[in-house]
Symmetry: C2
Subunit: 187 residues, 2 copies
DNA sequence: TGGAAACTAATTTTGTAAATTCAGTTTCCT
DNA sequence: AGGAAACTGAATTTACAAAATTAGTTTCCA
């Protein structure tokens, strides 16, 4: 069964959220109640697992994006709103803040991640630009700035202590952020 | 002349922006063309200099804030806009990103800084709340979220590479950010 | 009074050898 | 086929002493 491969990915994410990058393959094996031997039947190395975790996560986001892009009967604004929320929602499953640690030990994987992080914005930017042409969004609001603000706000939201201070739930915060930003560029 | 004391503060900031926290007192003395002896006539320790730098910067911000608060003939929205921009403008003089390094070596000073960073928001929040009562700003936009977004966006803007990517000048970015955020909570 | 330079005690950095941990493999067993 | 456990070489962490740096003081001199 090849779904064991997926189970390994999912469980590695689980352990990663607890122990961060310093998780060991023994940790993962123990968590799953299988032996390392089995893990190494499906993966050639620890690095390969992390590499595929990145794909696993971003493929999921991509799929969700396409779902939204193909959903019928949505106004541009509704579609943009959903698209903007889709991405951070996917990151509730993995400890986003800890992912930055990849930079030192696995620079290749980190680079892949930032690349996908970047390209993930393309459909949204496209939609925003379409919205501008149709007069929904202001022409004089810079979309790069918009992107910086969205990125920064979400990253801040992921920081351990930020959410605790607000007493608001994560998804609620997310909606507020998207609200403010979209209204902020509305014509 | 007591303005030598101020010159020492200003020049220490200059050296700090170049060399970061690892600046030496010899660096500062050399930069000013005076001897360490003179520096230690005005300050008891290096730590005391950093301590007073924090006060120096934040007193400046406070003064600018009061200026804006006492300025006549401004609408609430204009006043808020100016107030929101005042703070980050003051930080063009010092390398804000490097200030975080204080945390490890001078936790007391770092704490003072975060405290003043926090209390610096009070007049703005007050103004925003007044704006809500007068129906200028939406009641359903959470001001904590607003603050998180402003903080995060500015911090991101200070990051070394962010500005380079945009090709827009710092002050221009700042205005865009304030624009989007304020319009985003406008009723 | 204040600069230049030397001085000291404390701190920080550097080098490195020993100890530990861990990725990946192998053996043995069911 | 796959679990339990032992194994190995490489990498990482720890410990600590030697070396270098630097805060703050002192001396001498203009």
């Amino acid at each position: 069964m090849d779904d064991l491969k997926n189970r390994i990915l999912v469980n590695t994410i689980k352990v990663f959220n607890k122990k961060g990058l310093k998780l060991t393959m023994d940790d993962v094996a123990e968590q799953m109640g299988i032996s390392k031997k089995t893990i190494y039947k499906y993966f050639n190395s620890k690095e390969e697992i992390f590499d595929q975790i990145v794909d696993y996560i971003f493929d999921g986001i991509k799929a969700r994006e396409n779902e939204i892009l193909n959903e019928e009967g949505l106004s541009i604004d509704e579609r943009t709103r959903k698209l903007l929320a889709a991405f951070p929602e996917s990151f509730t499953a993995i400890d986003f803040a800890k992912l930055g640690d990849l930079k030192d030990k696995y620079p290749k994987i980190y680079k892949k991640m930032t690349r996908r992080l970047e390209s993930g914005w393309e459909p949204t930017i496209e939609l925003l630009e379409q919205g501008r042409k149709e007069g929904i969004y202001r022409e004089d609001a810079d979309l790069t700035i918009f992107k910086i603000m969205m990125d920064a706000s979400i990253a801040k939201l992921f920081e351990a202590d930020t959410l605790k201070k607000t007493k608001i739930k994560y998804v609620e915060c997310l909606n507020q952020i998207v609200d403010i930003l979209l209204l902020g560029i509305t014509a």
